[in-house]
C-alpha cells in the first residue's frame, strides 16, 4: 500500500434535508429537494440516477461549489454547510475528481499532483512533498510521468492523475463526479475495479455520482437512487436490484417484467397467491400483504426459467415465443403468455426458435412485490 490508510474512524458524511434550486431554472422546480443520507466512514456510497435528477447538484453542495438553500452537511461532526455556516470549498479538506478531470494543461504531471500540498499551509518540506506526490502517483501507476506535460497524457492517464491529485492531500472525503463517463468501454471496465480496489485499500469515505447502473452496482457499498431531485431508495447493490422499492427504481436499475396483481390468498410464511394477467402465481410478498392487496410483481428476465416441455410444480405458465434475438451472452426471448409479453433471457446455446411453445417457471422468492403506489 502506497498512500496508507487515509480514512480514520468517524469520518462519516451526514447530509440532512438538503435543498437547492437554481434561479435560472424556468420551471422553478427544485434541483434537490430535502435529500438526507449518511455515508458511514470508509463506505463507497453512490448517487445513481438519470441526468437532471439532482445527483451532481448534491455532490457539488457537499463539495461547497454550490451553496445549499436549506439543510445541513457535516463531515466527522464538523458542520460544512447549514443555514448559518458555510465553509468555502478550499477549507473543507475534500478530494474531488471531476467529470472532465480538470487537469491543468499549463502544468506538468508533478505540478498538477503536488498542487493541493503547495497551496495549503501543510508545513511539509520540499522533500516531503516530493515523497508524498511520488507515493500518490505510484498508487495510480503513474510513476515516472512526473515531468510529463499534462496535455501529453491519454484520457485514462488524465483520469489517474486526477485521482492522484484528489488523494495526495489525504482528504477525509473523496468525491467522484461521473469520473468514467469520458473513457472508452474497455478502459472504463478496468478503471471501475481499480478505483474500487483503491478505495477499499485506503478505506476512504467516498461519494460517487453516476448514471451508469453497472458502475453503481459493481463498485458501491450503498446505492441511493435519485429521481427528480428526491432520494427514492437507499440499499446495498444486491437488495436494490432484487427488491427495488418502487417501479421507478426497478425500471432504472436493470430490465424487468411488471405484472399487476391482487393477493387472493395468504400462504405459508410470506408467500401469497396473486392473481395476475398471466394467471395465478405464488410470490413472496411483504408481511402486511393480505387478501385484496393490489401490488405489482417484478420479474427480472434472467430469473425466468424457460422449458421446452411442461415441467412439474407450480408457477408454470405456457406461452409462445413471439420474438427471439441472439445477443451473444444470452438470447433475448419474448414470450406471449395470455396476451402479456414477458422478456426472458435463456442461455444462448438453447435451440429455441420463433413460434415455439415454451413453459416459463417463476421462482416465488424471485418475484418481488412492489406496493402499488
Amino acid at each position: 500500500m502506497a498512500v496508507g490508510q487515509v480514512g480514520s474512524a468517524g469520518d462519516s458524511l451526514v447530509v440532512t434535508d438538503l435543498s437547492k434550486s437554481y434561479f435560472e431554472s424556468q420551471s422553478g422546480a427544485r434541483a434537490v429537494e430535502k435529500v438526507s443520507f449518511t455515508v458511514p466512514e470508509g463506505c463507497f456510497y453512490t448517487l445513481l440516477g438519470p441526468s437532471g435528477c439532482g445527483k451532481t447538484t448534491t455532490l457539488r453542495c457537499v463539495a461547497g461549489l454550490e451553496r445549499a438553500d436549506a439543510g445541513t452537511i457535516t463531515l466527522a461532526n464538523r458542520i460544512f454547510s447549514s443555514p448559518t455556516v458555510f465553509v468555502p470549498p478550499h477549507r473543507r479538506d475534500i478530494g474531488m475528481v471531476f467529470q472532465s478531470y480538470a487537469i491543468w494543461p499549463h502544468m506538468t504531471v508533478f505540478e498538477n499532483a503536488s498542487f493541493p500540498l503547495r497551496v495549503r499551509n501543510t508545513g511539509l518540506t520540499r522533500k516531503q512533498i516530493q515523497e508524498r506526490v511520488e507515493q500518490a502517483l505510484a498508487t495510480v501507476q503513474l510513476s515516472g510521468f512526473e515531468s510529463r506535460n499534462a496535455t501529453q497524457l491519454s484520457g485514462g492517464q488524465q483520469q489517474r492523475l486526477a485521482l492522484a491529485r484528489a488523494l495526495v492531500q489525504q482528504p477525509r472525503l473523496l468525491l467522484l463526479d461521473e469520473p468514467l463517463s469520458n473513457l472508452d468501454a474497455k478502459l472504463r471496465e478496468r478503471m471501475r475495479s481499480e478505483i474500487r480496489d483503491l478505495q477499499r485499500r485506503l478505506h476512504i469515505t467516498t461519494l460517487y455520482v453516476t448514471h451508469d447502473q453497472i458502475e453503481a452496482l459493481s463498485m458501491s457499498d450503498r446505492i441511493a437512487v435519485m429521481s427528480k431531485g428526491t432520494l427514492m431508495q437507499e440499499s446495498a447493490p444486491r437488495d436494490l436490484y432484487q427488491h427495488p422499492a418502487s417501479k421507478v427504481v426497478a425500471e432504472f436499475v436493470g430490465a424487468g417484467n411488471f405484472l399487476e396483481g391482487e393477493v387472493t390468498a395468504v400462504l405459508d410464511g410470506n408467500e401469497r397467491r396473486v392473481a395476475t394477467p398471466i394467471g395465478d402465481l405464488v410470490a413472496v410478498c411483504p408481511p402486511d400483504a393480505s387478501a385484496g392487496t393490489r401490488l405489482t410483481l417484478l420479474v427480472r428476465p434472467e430469473y425466468v426459467r424457460v422449458e421446452t416441455s411442461r415441467p412439474e410444480g407450480s408457477n408454470v405458465f405456457e406461452g409462445r415465443i413471439e420474438e427471439i434475438m441472439f445477443l451473444g451472452e444470452f438470447v433475448d426471448c419474448r414470450v406471449r403468455v395470455r396476451g402479456q409479453l414477458l422478456n426472458t433471457r435463456p442461455h444462448p446455446t438453447r435451440p429455441l426458435t420463433k413460434g415455439d411453445t415454451v413453459w416459463l417457471v417463476l421462482r416465488p422468492d424471485l418475484c418481488s412485490a412492489l406496493m402499488t403506489p
Binding site: L65, H90, R92, F98, Q99, H106, F115, N182
Partner: protein, 577 residues
C-alpha cells in the same frame, strides 16, 4: 485527350500534359498570387535604383538607417504601437472580464456598445479629440484658459497622447477577442483548484491567469498588428504637427505636396515592415497553437460562476461609463456641437444664440453624392470579392491534402500582419508599371479600390469561413459526393447553403468596415473614385471645421441604420474581428 464528358464531370485535364487543374485550386490561387505580386513589387522596388531602373542596390536601406526622419518614424511606430496595445488592453480586458465573469448585469447592452465602438471610424475619434483637446484651439484648452491655466497639462500632439486616443478606439477589439476565451474557459479547472485548497488569489495567480495567458498574448499581438498599421489617428493628429509613424511616413513619401515622390525609401521601409510582419505572423501562430493546446476536452460544461462585485459594483460601472464617455461619447458630442456652430467655442449663452444649420447647407453636395456612390460600390463589392476568394482558399486549405495548403493559409493571413497601407502602396506601384506595364490602365478605378480592399479583408474572411467550414462535418459533403455530385455542385448545393448565415454576417460586417476605411481610399484616390472618408479628410485639410463636423455627423447618422441591418442579420451572433 479528355472527352467532353470527362471535362464536365471533374477536374479539368489539360490535353496531353497529364496535368490536372482543379478549378477551385485555381480560384484559391488567384488572391494568393495577387498578394505575392503586390508584396513582390514592393520588395523589388526596395532593392532597385529607381522606379524604372532595376539596377540592384541596397542604398535605400542604408538611407533608411541613416536618415534621421526615417529613424524617428521607426522609433515612433514602435512606441506608438506598444502604447496603443497597452491602452487597448487596459480598457478592453477589464471590461471583458466584468461582462463575462462578474455579475455586472446589462451584458447585452455593454456588448452592443462595445461592438459599435469597433465600427466608428478611427478618423472620427481623432477629429473629435482634435476639437476637444488641441493645445491651441481645443475646447478643453479654452476651458483651462478660462480658469487661468495657459497650457493644459495634456498635450494631444505627442505619440503617447495619440496612442491613448487610438488605444481607446481599439479597446472594443480586445474586448471581443478576450470575451470569448473568458467565456469558454472550463469552470471545473478553477473549481478543482478550489477543491485542492486554493483561495481566490492563489486560483487567479496559479490557474486562471496562466491558463488565459496564451489567449491574452494572442489578443495583444493581434491588436499590436493593427496598431502598427494604424493610419487614421496618426494622420489626423500627427501629420499636421510633423509627427510620423510608418503608415503616415509612407503616405507622405508617396503623396508629396512638394518635391518628387520618394518611392524607393518608402519601399525599403515597407519591405522592413513586411519582414517584421512575417515574424509576427509566425509568433502569433505559435501563441494560438499554445492556447488551443489548453482547450482540453470537457464533459458537461458548467456555467462558470460569476464573481460577485458587491461593494465594487459602482467602481466597475464608473470605469465602464468613464471609458464609454471618453472614447465614444466625448468625440461625438464635441463633433455634434461644433457642427451647429459657425466656429468652435465652449457652450455659453452666446454660443447657443449662434446655433445654425448653415454648415450642413454649405456642404459640397454634388461631390458628396459621387463619394456616396463610390462608398456604396465599395461596401457591396469588396466583401463580395473577399468572401468569394475566402471560400476558395478555405476549401483548399481545409478540404484538400495538397502540400500547398499550409502556405496558402499563411499567405492569406499576411494582410493582417503587414500594414494595409503597404498593399495600397504595392498596388499603386504595379499600376504605374514597376513590374510590367499593365495592359489596361486601372489607376484611379473603383475596380482597383475593390480588389485591394478585398485582399486586405481576406484574413478576416478566411478565418470566418474556416471557422464555419470546420463545423460542417466532412461526411455531409462526402454523402453528396457519393450521391453523384461533382465538387462544384457539392459546394453550391451543400456546403454554401450550410454556411450561408456566416457568409451573410461576414458580408454585412466587412461592408461596415469598408464604410469606415480611410487608409486605402486615400492612398489610391484619383479623380472620381473618392469615398466619403476621403472627402472628410479633404475637408479636414482645408481647415473649415464647421462643415467638417457636419459631414462627420451625417456619416455617423448613416451608420445607425447600417448597424440596425447588422443586428438583424447577426442576431445573437457576437462580432468577430
Amino acid at each position: 485527350m479528355a472527352t467532353r464528358a470527362e471535362v464536365a464531370r471533374g477536374p479539368l485535364t489539360i490535353a496531353g500534359s497529364g496535368l490536372r487543374v482543379d478549378l477551385l485550386a485555381v480560384a484559391a490561387g488567384i488572391p494568393i498570387v495577387l498578394i505575392l505580386i503586390i508584396l513582390g513589387a514592393v520588395a523589388k522596388l526596395a532593392f532597385q535604383e529607381r522606379v524604372f531602373d532595376d539596377t540592384f542596390t541596397v542604398d535605400h536601406f542604408v538611407a533608411l538607417a541613416t536618415d534621421p526622419a526615417a529613424g524617428l518614424a521607426l522609433r515612433n511606430t514602435a512606441l506608438f504601437a506598444l502604447l496603443t496595445t497597452f491602452w487597448a488592453m487596459a480598457f478592453g480586458l477589464p471590461i471583458a472580464w466584468l461582462v463575462e465573469r462578474a455579475d455586472l448585469g446589462k451584458k447585452a447592452a455593454v456588448s452592443t456598445a462595445m461592438s459599435i465602438g469597433v465600427l466608428i471610424p478611427g478618423f472620427i475619434y481623432a477629429m473629435g479629440w482634435i476639437l476637444f483637446a488641441h493645445p491651441r484651439s481645443g475646447l478643453l484648452t479654452k476651458l483651462f484658459q478660462g480658469i487661468g491655466i495657459e497650457t493644459p497639462p495634456f498635450d494631444l500632439l505627442t505619440i503617447p497622447a495619440m496612442a491613448w486616443v487610438d488605444g481607446m478606439s481599439f479597446a472594443p477589439i480586445v474586448f471581443i477577442l478576450t470575451a470569448a476565451s473568458l467565456r469558454m474557459m472550463d469552470a471545473s479547472l478553477e473549481d478543482s483548484a478550489q477543491m485542492c485548497g486554493a483561495g481566490l488569489l492563489q486560483r487567479l495567480r496559479l490557474v486562471t491567469l496562466p491558463l488565459l495567458l496564451p489567449s491574452l498574448a494572442g489578443a495583444a499581438i493581434y491588436v499590436f498588428t493593427i496598431a502598427l498599421a494604424s493610419f487614421d489617428v496618426p494622420l489626423v493628429i500627427g501629420v499636421s504637427n510633423r509627427i510620423y509613424v510608418f503608415s503616415t511616413y509612407l503616405y507622405t513619401q508617396v503623396q508629396r505636396f512638394e518635391g518628387v515622390p520618394a518611392y524607393e525609401i518608402a519601399a525599403a521601409f515597407a519591405f522592413f515592415m513586411i519582414a517584421f510582419g512575417v515574424v509576427l505572423a509566425w509568433v502569433y501562430g505559435r501563441v494560438l497553437a499554445r492556447s488551443r493546446e489548453f482547450q482540453v476536452v470537457t464533459g458537461k460544461a458548467y456555467r462558470s460562476r460569476l464573481t460577485a462585485l458587491g461593494q465594487w459594483r459602482p467602481v466597475a460601472w464608473a470605469f465602464l461609463g468613464g471609458y464609454l464617455l471618453l472614447s465614444i461619447g466625448l468625440p461625438l458630442i464635441v463633433l455634434l456641437w461644433t457642427s451647429f456652430l459657425p466656429f468652435p467655442q465652449l457652450p455659453s449663452v452666446r454660443a447657443f444664440s449662434l446655433l445654425t444649420t448653415s454648415n450642413y447647407a454649405e456642404l459640397n453636395w454634388p461631390l458628396i453624392g459621387r463619394a456616396v456612390r463610390t462608398t456604396v460600390l465599395l461596401m457591396i463589392l469588396a466583401p463580395l470579392v473577399a468572401l468569394t476568394a475566402a471560400i476558395a482558399v478555405s476549401w483548399f486549405v481545409l478540404r484538400t491534402r495538397s502540400r500547398l495548403r499550409f502556405a496558402f493559409d499563411f499567405m492569406a493571413f499576411l494582410p493582417q500582419v503587414v500594414p494595409r497601407i503597404v498593399f495600397a502602396f504595392g498596388a499603386l506601384m504595379l499600376t504605374i508599371g514597376v513590374w510590367v506595364r499593365p495592359p489596361i490602365d486601372v489607376y484611379g478605378t473603383v475596380g482597383l479600390l475593390v480588389v485591394v480592399m478585398a485582399l486586405v479583408q481576406l484574413p478576416f474572411a478566411t478565418r470566418l469561413v474556416n471557422a464555419s467550414l470546420i463545423q460542417i462535418h466532412n461526411e455531409l459533403e462526402e454523402a453528396a459526393r457519393t450521391a453523384g455530385a461533382p465538387t462544384l455542385t457539392v459546394l453550391r448545393r451543400v456546403t454554401l447553403p450550410l454556411i450561408r448565415p456566416s457568409l451573410v454576417y461576414g458580408w454585412v460586417w466587412l461592408s461596415l468596415l469598408s464604410y469606415r476605411e480611410l487608409t486605402i481610399p486615400t492612398m489610391l484616390r484619383a479623380g472620381d473614385t473618392v469615398t466619403l472618408s476621403a472627402v472628410i479628410y479633404d475637408n479636414y485639410l482645408t481647415g473649415l471645421i464647421g462643415p467638417l463636423a457636419a459631414l462627420v455627423v451625417l456619416m455617423l447618422l448613416v451608420l445607425v441604420p447600417l448597424i440596425g441591418i447588422y443586428w438583424r442579420v447577426g442576431g445573437s451572433r457576437r462580432p468577430t474581428v
